[in-house]
């Protein structure tokens, strides 16, 4: 059977999202291929975050279907949706990704504990080592830099081997050096662990790390690139979009 190998990690079919009179997403069709790094770009207010939230099951679409790892979200109860997020989706937000009361390793182990599984300390350690924070396991978020906090958040998102990792401007609040570390980690996850990654960004340099760039404007897909494209090319396309 070929279906399994071709199965999309995430599929959006005619997905819309209204906020009162505002249409943040307008019947978007989008298929996210597995084991690839997809970037979503677009001007501010174009619906990037909304798209990500709907695709990740954080928010419910007002129209259309979202299918994550073969499971349509439409009929799921809040509880089942939460379980699905816990098992098949990982998240990294722009900031405030960690519970202040918990240490780095406790934060990483949190999804497993919420799933009722005893966290495997070896696995948590290995994950922290992978993001370069093996020596910070016992530190609280308030004792870590912004970049380190984002890396802990990536470790937490990856530890349960989700079907997709979503990141909403993960480098938005970081300096250049820290941004580069975070992007390198995401790229590594795709290359080494066959992880599917979807990242929202407005930074052409960040988007250049992706295998595919999807451009949004006014809640619709306006443009896309396939394969590795350099930052300059992406910047040109962005400018074109913004001037429309």
């Amino acid at each position: 059977m070929t279906i399994t190998t071709l199965k999309a990690a995430v599929e959006l079919r005619k997905v819309s999202r209204q906020y009162g009179a505002v249409t943040a997403l307008d019947a978007v069709d989008l298929t996210i291929a597995p084991a690839a790094f997809t970037a979503i770009m677009g001007p501010s207010g174009s619906g990037k975050s909304t798209l990500l939230h709907c695709a990740a099951g954080l928010d419910r679409a007002t129209g259309g279907d979202v299918i994550i790892d073969g499971v349509p979200l439409g009929g799921l109860s809040e509880r089942d949706l939460t379980k699905l997020r816990r098992e098949r989706v990982g998240f990294v937000f722009q900031s405030f990704n960690l519970i202040p009361a918990l240490s780095a390793e406790q934060n990483v182990a949190l999804p497993m504990r919420l799933a009722g599984r005893r966290p495997d300390p070896g696995q948590v350690k290995a994950m922290l080592a992978e993001v370069g924070l093996a020596d910070r396991a016992k530190h609280r978020p308030s004792e870590l830099s912004g970049g380190q906090q984002q890396r802990v958040a990536i470790a937490r998102a990856l530890v349960s081997r989700p079907a997709v990792l979503f990141a909403d401007e993960p480098t938005g609040a970081l300096d250049t050096k820290a941004s580069r570390d975070v992007l390198r980690l995401l790229r590594l996850a795709v290359d080494r662990h066959v992880q599917t990654v979807v990242m929202v960004t407005h930074d052409p340099y960040a988007a250049a790390h992706a295998d595919r760039v999807v451009f949004l404007a006014d809640g619709r897909i306006a443009d896309q690139t396939e394969g590795s494209v350099d930052a300059a090319e992406i910047a040109v396309r962005m400018t074109r979009l913004e001037q429309r």
Binding site: S49, H53, L58, D59, E78, R79, T82, K83, R85, R86, E87, F91, F93, Q94, F96, N97, L98, I99, P100, A101, L102, Q106, L110, P111, R113, L114, A115, R140, P141, S142, R156, D168
Partner: protein
């Protein structure tokens, strides 16, 4: 669970309010209930050496649910004692007649009036208490007495039911009480209800009603029972209020803390916590805090209880010799109650938190949600209706339950006000801050308060509770007291009254010389419609036979009665009265003959009085006021305790909410500093907001109290058909408001100074 523990440890400040409220509540309940549980009925000391007490027969339960007894006549008692002395193991069977005696010093009655009703005994009964003659000889004829602390050969002036007497002291005994010769004591007492057995009686050979061992506590003196009952009333009120305020404080603390944690909870939801897990986490956190609070509260309560024993005895709320004992079951119960209260307090905010959408993790500021929710409206309106109904019904309730009912009504109304507060706060704040809308501080305070309605409501709630509670409770009681005074005075026919002066009632000699009727008070068994029950009887000069209540449906022509002295008679029923069914009138001389112990309440004078020992002349108003004030003193003490308790507790709540609120708004204040504001500026904003919250709470609490007081006055007026003055207790309300304001300003400002040491994240 371990997650909850980590959360609590990290954010302890956020849980401190809950912790202190629970610790205090548990300490209060543990201490108060230890006192209550320690205050069990005691075997009277004068029965210490009588292992078995044989009691005169019961004739079934009376209308009040307690058994009624008939007395043995002196002859019956002697026969019964003779019969009991043949029971194997009995050394002696001693009838125990008791009677009223008070020592007169300079023609003034001394000692506790209520306890003096049973101060007189027969000499032979001293043995029941294990008391012995230490000097002199036993009393042998009327007019001779032995007692403690007097030297044989001297004399003593006493007051008995008959009047002043002059007794010769023939001996000294090492126990309390006045001991007359057996014949003289029997003469004074009239009937006998207890025969004490000494030795080691074989109980299987005893017929009839008897008590052994700890069961003998059933024979506790009524005066002691009454004192313990009063103490229990205070304890019940304290525990009720304590639990109520604890739930209130915990609930408002939890609600605020949950509002401040929306982002964190959203993050938990985003990374896979189900709504159920969020609820469980919050319960688990509260459980951790409650267990810690209980662990502190239980020992505090257990250690504080013994310290309160002697103040309670001094206040007349526990009998002399009251001792506190360790009550493990009570302590365990208090601990458990703390846990239950905490979980009940967190219930609503846990439910709300579980509905926080995962997306809230992304929103920066805790955007205020709708302050009013549907359940809030429903609960608010229901409690308001309940409280209003109870307040209106207050004057028609029996006086003994009025205080408790007023307490409950106050609680309901104030919970209603706290729940509905957000509705009123917005317009109230607009109104109050109108004059300062121009200045920077004024604008910040105004806008901060308007956007943080829930925060302000949480701060205003405890203030509202305290101010409203203090005003409403004292106002209700003062108004009822005043109304009763007017009502009772209106009923009084005579201008002057001969009243007891530190005595339980007026002796026969005290009333004999007075111009006016002196009804005697006693108790009598009557058989009506086939059932025998005890009736409160009044001996009246003008009664020709028994006068029964109109409420009794099957009034017989003649009625079988048993008097206090144990004699029986069949008396004609000659009339009816309008009073309650358990009251009856009989001819005064007949009652006097069969109850030598009966005393008169007062004489309504219709001419000049002769002053006698144990009697004083008062105007009708003074007399009634005196009666009301006697109750009033106890009630005032109750109020003082209850209000101090509420103020203490809510002071804590105000402090806690404001500390949390200011700490939670650090970023906001940082922005204010960046915009060029100094610490003084920030302080002005926090102070302004705190005072605004106190003002809102005061207005709401005072408004509720005023409305409730007006409603109650209306009802009282209809009941009494005359106008009643509303008593507003400014003396209590104003200090309460000032204390709240002071606590609020300090608590709101304190975190501004400690701000620099804290790191981002928790605090």
């Amino acid at each position: 669970m371990s997650l909850a523990f980590t959360m609590v440890r990290h954010r302890f400040a956020a849980f401190a309010g809950t912790f202190v409220a629970i610790a205090l509540g548990v300490a209060l309940v543990a201490g108060a209930c230890t006192l209550w549980a320690s205050s069990r009925p005691q075997v009277p000391e004068r029965y210490n050496s009588a292992p078995v007490l044989v009691h005169s027969p019961t004739i079934g339960k009376g209308t009040d649910g307690y058994p009624d007894y008939r007395s043995w006549t002196p002859a019956e008692a002697r026969d019964k004692a003779d019969q009991l002395s043949t029971v194997p193991g009995v050394t002696a069977a001693i009838p125990d007649p008791t009677f009223y005696v008070q020592e007169l010093i300079k023609n003034k009655a001394t000692g506790d009036p209520e306890a003096s009703r049973t101060a007189g005994h027969a000499y032979s009964s001293a043995e029941l208490g294990g008391y012995h003659l230490t000097a002199g000889t036993p009393p042998s004829k009327p007019g001779e007495v032995v007692l403690r602390g007097s030297t044989p050969g001297g004399t003593i002036d006493v007051l008995t039911a008959a009047g002043p007497e002059h007794w010769t002291v023939t001996g000294t005994v090492d126990g309390p009480g006045f001991y007359l010769s057996d014949a003289a004591a029997m003469e004074q007492a009239g009937g006998v209800r207890v025969i004490g057995l000494t030795g080691d009686p074989q109980t299987s050979a005893i017929t009839g009603l008897f008590f052994t061992g700890g069961d003998r506590d059933k024979l506790e003196d009524e005066s002691v029972t009454r004192i313990r009952w009063l103490g229990a009333q205070l304890i019940i009120a304290m525990v009720t209020l304590g639990v109520f305020v604890a739930v209130f404080v915990v609930a408002s603390t939890c609600a605020l803390s949950a509002a401040q944690r929306r982002r964190e909870i959203g993050l938990l939801r985003a990374v896979g916590a189900t709504p159920g897990q969020v609820v469980r986490l919050m319960y688990a956190e509260t459980l951790v805090v409650a267990v810690l609070g209980g662990a502190v509260g239980v020992p505090v309560g257990a250690l504080a209880a013994p310290l309160l024993a002697s103040p309670l005895v001094n206040a007349g709320l526990e009998p002399a010799g009251f001792a506190v004992t360790l009550q493990p079951a009570v302590l365990a119960g208090a601990f458990l109650l703390g846990v239950v209260v905490a979980l009940a307090g967190v219930w609503s905010s846990a439910r709300r938190s579980s509905r926080v959408p995962a997306l809230d993790a992304l929103r920066d500021a805790a955007v205020e949600r709708r302050a009013m929710t549907v359940p809030r409206w429903i609960f608010g309106l229901l409690t308001a209706a309940g409280g209003a109904a109870l307040t209106v019904a207050l004057p028609s309730l029996p006086p003994t339950t009025q205080t408790t009912a007023a307490l409950f009504a106050a609680m309901l109304l104030l919970v209603a006000a706290a729940l509905l507060a957000p509705v009123v706060i917005v317009p109230l704040v607009r109104l109050v801050t109108w004059p300062w809308r121009g200045g920077a501080t004024g604008m910040l305070v105004r806008e901060g308060t308007l956007t943080g309605v829930r925060r302000v409501a949480s701060t205003a709630a405890p203030v509202l509770l305290t101010v409203g509670f203090a005003t409403l409770l004292t106002g209700t009681i003062a108004t009822i007291e005043q109304a009763t005074r007017i009502d009772e005075t209106a009923k009084l026919p005579a201008i002057e009254v001969a009243a007891p002066d530190n005595t339980p009632g007026l002796s026969e000699a005290a009333v004999a010389g007075q111009p006016g009727d002196a009804p005697l008070r006693s108790e009598m068994l009557m058989t009506i419609g086939g059932t025998t029950s005890a009736y409160q009887v009044t001996g009246k000069g003008d009664a020709k036979g028994v006068i029964l209540s109109r409420d009794l449906t099957d009034r017989p022509k003649r009625v079988d009665v048993v008097f206090r002295d144990g004699t029986t008679a069949t008396l004609p029923v000659t009339g009816t009265h309008d009073g309650p069914a358990e009251l009856a009138d009989v001819p005064r001389t007949l009652l006097r003959e069969h109850d030598p112990q009966a005393l008169a309440d007062a004489v309504m004078l219709n001419g000049p009085a002769h002053v006698e020992p144990g009697m004083k002349v008062l105007t009708a108003r003074q007399y009634v006021t005196g009666l009301v004030d006697e109750e009033g003193q106890i009630i005032d003490l109750f109020l003082l305790v209850l209000i101090s308790l509420t103020v203490g507790y809510t002071g804590l709540a105000v402090a806690n909410t404001l500390l949390m609120a200011t700490a939670g708004r650090r970023t906001e204040f940082r922005a204010l500093r960046l915009a060029g504001g100094g610490t003084g500026h920030v302080l002005r904003v926090t102070t302004g907001e705190a005072l605004l919250a106190v003002a809102a709470g005061t207005l709401l609490g005072g408004g509720v109290a005023a409305a409730a007081l007006l409603g109650m006055r209306r009802a009282t007026q209809e009941e009494l058909r005359q106008s009643v003055d509303l008593v507003i207790p400014w003396g209590q309300a104003v200090p309460v408001v000032l204390i709240c304001a002071l606590v609020a300003v300090v608590a709101a400002g304190a975190p501004v100074f400690t701000r620099k040491q804290s790191r981002n994240g928790g605090f």
